[in-house]
Symmetry: C2
Subunit: 244 residues, 2 copies
């Protein structure tokens, strides 16, 4: 069933209207009277609706039922990613959204080769949020993951450490497995998965993460690219959490 | 430690030489006498070597030891992917290689929007094999995954069915989880993960897979893009197999 996201303030109890971009999308799908669609507030609520009128520029819907989205995972997993080259971050935002991520947070680290300046950041965040919204729509999510940028590595550690299951993946870690960290946090509800930039994290950064309370784990004996590691970890964690 | 792949016929017992592309790669790394490198036959054997001479166009190595690669997973997982648009297949080849795939096999299915003709196929296979080789080198693999194309969906089913754990992922499957299939094949050594094209598999194709003996499984309640599904499944399976 086609899915549309509306801003929470446009969600109504009995009737709703698709305009603008959503109307364009509906037009491509050739929606007609009587078709069923899902309208979602992007915060976990799905409304089942029926098309009641199609006019130029607006499609009217009658709300039939309203439920918590079934497409949201039971666990809230946030990906913390050292700021990579822009196309890689966009790739991770799109794929992590499909895979059920709760939020994607970028942060600077010592070996980051690029980071956005203050000026371009607002525009970029807008663009990233759009990528998340579009991937959420296509994958049938009930939530649009938030995309944020933190000002420092220390801020990322402090925030990540609050999760029930906070993990940093380090290619030089050989013995401590992700599985061990997951099994040591039974019934976890929130997880933070932190990965480094193209050039890796510095040893001192990894030490700081350990002191902040993060589990330092391996993702196996192969070196993963910076955009592969968070998606591999996220896939594995959703599996471990019983999502599929 | 830098890693180089040599064709098995160029592997020698005591001395080896890097020329051509491998020499160029070594030059970028500024290798000098006494540096340690790994030379791999791409079939699971790693040789630890020491640089003994650097000349224009050739770098000589002395072999110190020879071992089965530690970077190869204990399970052989083959990804069978309905032929997608070319950039997506290349993406999957690169990422699946990093994640430890044994082979990547493309096949045609009813809703495939593109498929290579006989004429272009040989060139494409060459290109895909190079992508696998390059990703294997960068991720430190001990094997270069083979990339192949099968002539029909039936051929893909017949081959996949030979694995200890053969699975087809279908977005309309709701109840049977990947976990259930994995747990029903304890001690599996080989796995086949089959996924559909952009437009999905047809119901009759899914039925045929079930008859051929494949497990029909869900990858969760979110719709994954055709290039995301095999990588999600591969990550989860490597986790389930105890790789990390």
């Amino acid at each position: 069933m086609p899915k549309f996201f509306l801003p929470p303030e446009e969600m109504q109890d009995n009737f709703m209207v698709l305009t603008g971009e959503q109307y364009q999308h509906a037009k491509v799908l050739r929606l007609k009277n009587g078709d069923a669609v899902t309208v979602c507030d992007g915060r976990g609520t799905d409304c089942r609706c029926i098309v009641s009128d199609v006019s130029e520029g607006r499609i009217s819907l009658v709300v039939q039922s309203r439920d918590a989205s079934l497409a949201e995972p039971a666990v809230e997993v946030t990906v913390y990613m050292a700021f990579p080259k822009s196309d890689k971050l966009e790739h991770v935002i799109q794929k992590a959204t499909e895979l059920g991520v709760y939020a994607v947070v970028a942060f600077p680290s010592a070996r980051c080769v690029s980071r956005p300046d203050e000026k371009s950041l607002r525009k970029k965040l807008e663009r990233w949020q759009k990528i998340a919204a579009s991937a959420a729509e296509q994958s049938g999510r009930g939530r649009i993951p938030e995309v944020r940028m933190l000002p420092s590595y220390a801020a990322a550690l402090a925030e990540a450490a609050n999760a029930d299951l906070p993990v940093l993946f380090y290619e030089n870690e050989r013995s401590r497995t992700f599985r061990a960290a997951i099994e040591a946090a039974p019934g976890f509800r929130t997880a933070a998965l932190l990965t480094g930039p193209e050039g890796g994290l510095e040893e001192s950064e990894v030490e700081a993460a350990g002191k902040a309370g993060l589990n330092i784990c391996t993702l196996g004996s192969r070196i993963l690219r910076c955009e592969t590691a968070p998606l591999c970890a996220l896939s594995a964690l959703m599996y471990a959490a019983g999502e599929f």
